[in-house]
């Protein structure tokens, strides 16, 4: 549905988007995840033909966005970050304006607008002025505004920022339902990993204008933590066994025969062992065999936050 090939955007000497290749399939929710200033919004603007790429091509629904933005905008609904409405118009009037810009006949637009306002949970404020709306309401009205043109693809740029947790949940549920019922393709840009993980089928991690990784969450974590998917924390009473080489080195030597251990470190009196498989049993056995006393053993799995930070750290370093 959306295909980006070698997409690059430069502002002077600053490269906002660097050689981006990405394919988004029909009917999937794709999460574009990245910190602020990673180039997510710029990429979205290029998809809509609102900004021309420096090089590379964007095609949405098989149409080149740069050459033919009008056709693309006919099929794509875009909800910008912190969407605004004409404050002195009612919710309904704002929706009807969009509908008219899309050449939807008046009667049809009116019916559709009312249905959509019910759908996004704003049935009571149809005739309330948009200027009186809270941020969350505006975002929901924004979703209705996007849907009124019957899009094939919807692009949501940070749609949940500034909404309370309950509002976020409702918003995400609504997106997931829309995809299920209408087969919409959704591109969801966010810096919030948990929200992305909740609804997205696939995720692309985007740092400094580059796509660091893409795939579903389990495969992403596998890709990143090929050799350190688990962390085992061991509290050990050494009983004076460490010797001259130091405690960490001592433990590393003891654990050396076990395959799959990538690193050993010591922090706050607890050893931290990173390994690719769950090696708790083997590690415990080795420590006990060595004569030291094993006080505690704690297995930790890498959560989403670790995945996220690890990628972003990598991004900042490079």
């Amino acid at each position: 549905m959306i295909e980006l090939v070698d997409l690059t955007k430069k502002y002077g000497s600053f490269t906002a988007v660097d050689q981006l290749n990405l394919t988004i399939n029909k009917g999937e929710i794709f999460g574009l995840l990245g910190p602020n200033g990673a180039g997510k919004s710029t990429t979205i603007l290029m998809m809509l033909g609102l900004t021309d790429p420096t090089s590379g091509t964007v095609s949405v629904c098989g149409i080149d966005s740069t050459a033919n933005p009008i056709e693309v905008k006919r099929k794509v609904g875009y909800l910008p970050e912190d969407v605004g409405f004409y404050d002195d118009r009612t919710a309904l009037e704002n929706l009807l304006y969009t509908a008219r810009l899309n050449r939807i006949p008046e009667k049809e637009a009116r019916e559709k607008a009312q249905q959509l306002l019910v759908r996004v949970g704003l049935p009571d404020v149809i005739n309330k002025k948009a200027g009186k709306f809270s941020r969350g309401m505006r975002q929901r009205l924004g979703l209705a505004d996007v849907l009124i043109k019957n899009p094939e693809v919807i692009i949501l740029d940070e749609p949940t920022s500034g909404i309370d947790p309950k509002g976020v949940r409702e918003f995400l549920d609504l997106i997931a339902r829309l995809r299920d019922e209408q087969g919409l393709t959704v591109l969801f840009s966010s810096h919030n990993l948990h929200q992305v993980q909740e609804v997205c089928d696939r995720v692309g991690i985007f740092v400094n204008g580059r796509l660091k990784a893409e795939g579903d969450i389990p495969s992403l974590s596998k890709k990143l933590f090929t050799d350190s998917l688990y962390v085992i924390e061991a509290g050990v009473e050494l009983n004076g066994l460490s010797g001259a080489s130091g405690e960490t080195q001592w433990l590393a030597n003891i654990l050396n025969p076990i395959e799959g251990i990538s690193s050993v470190s010591r922090k706050n009196g607890v050893f931290r062992i990173e390994c690719s498989r769950n090696l708790s049993a083997e590690i415990a056995r080795a420590i006990v065999h060595s004569g030291a006393s094993l006080i505690s053993l704690n297995k930790k799995e890498f959560g989403l936050d670790e995945i996220y930070y690890r990628y972003f750290e990598g991004g900042e370093k490079s």
């Binding site: 409405f85 810009l101 005739n127």
Partner: protein, 332 residues
């Protein structure tokens, strides 16, 4: 849940046919202007001042008509020009308040959309980017035209009732041309402020920029010209040609100001006896019959002024168009 079925809201109209997106924007913008408080205030201001100048014009009407006046046959036009000195006449008011109207209608055309976050939303609809700026211009111009013609015709009507003598066809045409010239003049200021609204992100900055340009031309520019005039004033011994050259230079400097172009244009149109806008030598005047110029000749006389104003308008519009097309549309 039951939804109240609302009737067609006025600003969207309720016609069954699908209009072109461009006209949809124009329609919305016109509605916005007409509903906005600042437009109401300005119109009230203009209507009040016009009523004032009309009142002075009508009360002094009998005194203004002198026997053997070359403009005797054009006394209807005097409605727009005569005054007893307490209040300026109608066309002076227009040349003063017109720019304010233009600036107030354009100064937040683009940047307010950006600040409200509606620009990126509208731009993501299937419309060409230039629709928005063109529609804003067309809408503002429509509103101004309707306002000025309504005002002009009201004055004509009022004059008809009080004086009781209908205007001649030529007088009527001159008034129409005067109104058209006023619209061009306001359009110039409108486009200047649209240009500022594209360039400056804050509406307040662009309003200030527009007003300062207006103040510069209406107050300071004349002061500067006076300074230049003193510095360059020819000696009493100077030849006739030097004096004429000096006068022409001053006049040309004055003509950089759009308000000078406008006032020259309006005086020529509304006072048919004006036969030249520059200095005339005795030889040129000799043998001339002190009669009013026909409309065609008056139009010829003001043609350079009109083209100058139009050119200024078009340059401002072109600049704002280019700036807007190159602008990157980001949310807020």
């Amino acid at each position: 849940m039951k939804i109240h079925h609302t009737n067609a809201s006025g600003w969207l109209g309720n016609s069954g046919k699908i209009s072109h997106p461009f006209w949809v924007i124009v329609q919305k913008e016109v509605a916005d202007y007409v509903r906005s408080w600042r437009f109401v205030i300005l119109v009230a201001l203009i209507v009040l001042t016009c009523a004032g100048s009309m009142y002075t014009a009508l009360t002094n009407f009998s005194k203004a008509i002198k026997p053997n006046d070359p403009e005797g046959t054009f006394f209807f036009l005097k409605l727009f020009t005569i005054t007893d000195g307490t209040l300026p006449s109608f066309f002076v008011f227009i040349s003063f308040l017109g720019p304010l109207l233009g600036i107030s209608m354009g100064f937040d055309a683009i940047n307010s959309e950006q600040n409200r976050g509606t620009l990126s939303r509208v731009m993501s609809q299937p419309i060409h980017r230039d629709y928005l700026i063109n529609a804003k211009f067309v809408a503002a111009l429509t509103v101004i035209s309707v306002l000025f013609f309504a005002l002009g015709f009201l004055i004509i009507g009022l004059g008809l009732i009080t004086i009781g003598i209908p205007p001649t066809a030529e007088e009527f045409l001159r008034m129409i041309f005067f109104l058209a010239l006023s619209i061009v003049y306001v359009a110039f200021w409108l486009n200047l402020s649209i240009l500022f609204s594209v360039k400056f992100r804050q509406a307040a900055t662009s309003a200030l920029a527009g007003i300062s340009v207006w103040l510069f031309f209406s107050v300071f520019y004349n002061l500067i010209i006076n300074l230049i005039a003193k510095a360059f004033s020819p000696s009493p011994m100077a030849t006739e040609y030097q004096v004429i050259g000096y006068q022409k230079m001053l006049l040309n400097l004055m003509r950089i100001s759009p308000s000078q172009l406008f006032s020259e244009g309006t005086t020529t149109l509304l006072m048919p006896s004006v036969r030249s806008l520059g200095p005339l030598t005795m030889e040129q005047v000799q043998g001339a019959i002190p009669s009013p110029l026909p409309l065609g000749q008056s139009l010829l006389l003001v043609w350079p002024q009109v083209t100058g104003l139009l050119a200024g308008t078009i340059v401002c519009f072109a600049l704002s168009y280019v700036a807007f097309m190159r602008k990157e549309i980001r949310s807020r």
